[in-house]
Structures are given as structure tokens and as C-alpha cells.
């Protein structure tokens, strides 16, 4: 079995491994003790993703919309729950960011995943997030 990634080693590998296809993906390592990789998807309308590795898990998250942008929260939540099982590789969730509720689309994969699987996850997550945002257009202000 290969060695599990840390946020640092994964960032370094993404930056230096020529086999990783990072076309349209900008990366930046942010933070000190528990760093994250801040990702900007140039071909996905500059969608910003956050990636962090913790122990056995790589977590990648994309901001879908703010709760304040939702017309009817109950209806939207139901739509999210119904969409979630149909969404390949990504999940929908709700998080509080600086006192504001943020709907997120996120994916988790093993920290022993090969590099190209991580890149694939990043692209799929960006695709899914934009598709979800489009699909939910009627629910949003």
C-alpha cells in the first residue's frame, strides 16, 4: 500500500508531478499547522474549492450557495436530499461559515488514493457543483 498523503505532500505532488493534468486548475497552500489547499477552477467560472487531508481522508469542498440566496429553505433542503443520492461521487451539505449558512458540495476519498484520482475528484466536484447550482436555479434568488 502506498503512503497516505498529507495536505503538504499532496500539494507538493500536485505541483511537481508532470503526469497530473492540472489544466485550468490553480493551487495555493494556505495556513500553517492545519493547512488547506485553496483551488481555483479557471474553466468553471473561477469556482473556489478547498481541500484538506486528515489522517485517512481527503476532503474536498465547494461552495454551492448561501442559505440567504435560497427562496424557500424547506423546499430547497428537500430538493438537496432528493438530489444527493443521484449525485455521483459528491455529497450536499450545510455548514456555518462566519455566522452564515453555506450549502456545500463535497467529496471524500482515501488519503491513499493515487494522484490522478485526486485530480479527477477535483474536476468531478467542480462539474457537479455547477450542475447542482444550475439544477437548483428555480429555488434560488
Amino acid at each position: 500500500m502506498n503512503t497516505p498523503w498529507t495536505t503538504h505532500s499532496l500539494f507538493d505532488a500536485l505541483k511537481s508531478d508532470a503526469s497530473a493534468d492540472l489544466g485550468g486548475i490553480d493551487l495555493e497552500l494556505v495556513g500553517g499547522v492545519e493547512p488547506t489547499v485553496s483551488i481555483v477552477m479557471r474553466e468553471h467560472g473561477d469556482l473556489g474549492l478547498q481541500l484538506a487531508v486528515s489522517g485517512g481522508e481527503i476532503f474536498v469542498s465547494a461552495p454551492l450557495c448561501l442559505a440567504s440566496q435560497v427562496k424557500n429553505v424547506a423546499e430547497f433542503n428537500e430538493a438537496c436530499l432528493r438530489l444527493n443520492p443521484l449525485n455521483p461521487l459528491s455529497n450536499l451539505g450545510l455548514q456555518n461559515v462566519n455566522g452564515e449558512d453555506l450549502y456545500i458540495v463535497f467529496g471524500e476519498l482515501s488519503s491513499r488514493s493515487p494522484l490522478d484520482a485526486v485530480v479527477e475528484e477535483i474536476r468531478v466536484l467542480a462539474d457537479n457543483t455547477l450542475q447542482a447550482a444550475e439544477a437548483f436555479a428555480d429555488h434560488l434568488k
Binding site: 492545519e34 485553496s38 467560472g45 469556482l47 484538506a52 489522517g55 450557495c65 456555518n96 461559515v97 444550475e134
Partner: protein, 257 residues
């Protein structure tokens, strides 16, 4: 163990009334850490119990072994006594064997009980290990989520002063639409320019045809040019000197382009 979900849900319910919900993750971690510790303590306890019971089982099994040896020995004595027609002695040994066999039955029952306890404890130790691994996984998830959430909060804080909202997929969709519009506009402009150039080219071609502007070189025009060069050379007997070429007609100088 199932209560872990309940505890975390209760946390969220409590957090809805509080100002900061970052507390939730910290508390979730605290709960998970506590669960891991509890599960690890339970694991240590069941392993201790297991060790004790296995030791007791060994003692009982050794005793049973000794009694079974006794049983075989007494059996041999009885057979021997009967073969020598000493029925009284055989009867005496048989009474002792009866007591030994009663003991063996009791001990076998005790050992079977120990075996049942051992397999129960082994199962619960395996379960505790599974629970611990799952909880550790959950801790990883919470920690990763927390890091990402913190990063998002930092991004939000950066935009907070500017009056802009945290950028989401909706903004990205908007950006994509805008870029598509821009690209469409660029294409339109390029197309328009291309059409204009086409119109210009058509006009130029017609001007050329009318002989108003010079056209591209053709065989005829090249031949005409050489013929014009020849004419002044024929009118002089000797080769023209260097200075004389200055006075030559512009036609005689080969044109470039």
C-alpha cells in the same frame, strides 16, 4: 455506541441558539475523543477479562486432565480386579471412579461455560476495535471538514470588508455566462471584421479589373515589363555608362513590388 449520532445532533440543536457554531465542531471532536477513550477502555477491560478467564480455563482444563487420567487408571484397576475375580476390590475402586466421573462432568460443564465467555469476550473485543476504527475515521472527517470550513471562513472574512458576499457556484455560473457573452461578442466582432475585409477585397478586385489599381503580376505584365527594358537598350549602340542610367526613364528601372 449508537448514541454518538444523537449526541452530535443535540449539539447542532443547541448551536442553533448560540452565536458561534464553530463550537459544534470543537464539541463534536470532544465527544468523538471521549467515545474513542471509552471504547479503548472497554477494549482494555474486555482483554483483561479475557486473559483472566483464559487462565482460569487453563487451570480447570489441567485439573480435568488429571481427573481423566485418574478415570483411566481406575478403569484399568477395575478391569484387573474383575479379571482376578476380586469383586470386592473392584467395587471399592468403582465407588471412587463414580466420584471422579461426577467431578469430570462438573469440570467439563465449567470449561464449556468458560469457552462460551471467551468467545463472547473475543467478539466484544473485535467489536470495540471496529468501533474505535470507525470513530477515528469520523474524527478524521470532522478535522478535515473543520480545516476546510476554516479556510472558507477566512475567504469569507477577506470579502466581508468589501461588501461582497462569499463567492459560490452561483457567482461562477454568472461568470461563465458573462464570459460566454463576451466570447460571443468577440466572435461577432471578428465575423463583422471578416465580412468587411471580404467586401474590401471584392472592391479591390473590381478596381484591379478596371485597371485603376495595379494588379498582381501575370505572365503578360511581366513580358511587357521585359519588353520595355529592351527598348532603351536597343536605341544605344554602346552599353550605357554608369552615370547615364540616372537619366533613364523610370520605366527602365525594374520595379519592386
Amino acid at each position: 455506541m449508537a448514541s454518538i449520532w444523537t449526541k452530535i445532533i443535540t449539539l447542532f440543536r443547541g448551536a442553533a441558539h448560540e452565536a458561534g457554531t464553530a463550537v459544534v465542531d470543537a464539541n463534536a471532536l470532544r465527544i468523538l475523543d471521549q467515545e474513542v477513550r471509552d471504547a479503548q477502555n472497554a477494549l482494555v477491560r474486555s482483554r483483561d477479562d479475557l486473559a483472566k478467564i483464559m487462565a482460569q480455563r487453563k487451570i480447570s482444563a489441567d485439573k480435568l486432565g488429571a481427573k481423566q487420567a485418574k478415570q483411566a487408571e481406575y478403569g484399568n484397576y477395575i478391569r484387573e480386579a474383575l479379571s482376578r475375580d476380586n469383586r470386592a476390590l473392584a467395587q471399592e475402586v468403582a465407588n471412587k471412579l463414580a466420584a471422579v466421573e461426577a467431578d469430570i462432568a462438573t469440570d467439563s460443564k465449567v470449561i464449556a461455560d468458560y469457552d462460551a465467555s471467551i468467545s463472547k469476550l473475543q467478539a466484544s473485543a473485535r467489536q470495540a476495535e471496529t468501533v474505535i476504527n470507525r470513530l477515528k475515521q469520523q474524527i478524521d472527517t470532522v478535522k478535515a471538514t473543520e480545516s476546510v470550513q476554516r479556510a472558507q471562513a477566512a475567504l469569507a472574512a477577506n470579502t466581508a470588508g468589501t461588501g461582497a458576499k462569499l463567492s459560490t457556484a452561483l457567482d461562477s455560473l454568472e461568470r461563465i455566462k458573462q464570459r460566454q457573452t463576451e466570447r460571443a461578442a468577440q466572435l461577432e466582432v471578428a465575423e463583422e471584421m471578416g465580412k468587411n475585409q471580404g467586401e474590401d477585397a471584392d472592391l479591390h478586385r473590381r478596381l484591379e479589373q478596371a485597371g485603376i489599381v495595379p494588379g498582381a503580376s501575370s505572365g503578360d505584365s511581366i513580358l511587357a515589363r521585359f519588353e520595355r527594358e529592351q527598348r532603351p537598350a536597343l536605341s544605344h549602340e554602346s552599353a550605357p555608362q554608369l552615370g547615364q542610367s540616372v537619366g533613364a526613364t523610370p520605366d527602365s528601372v525594374p520595379k519592386n513590388g
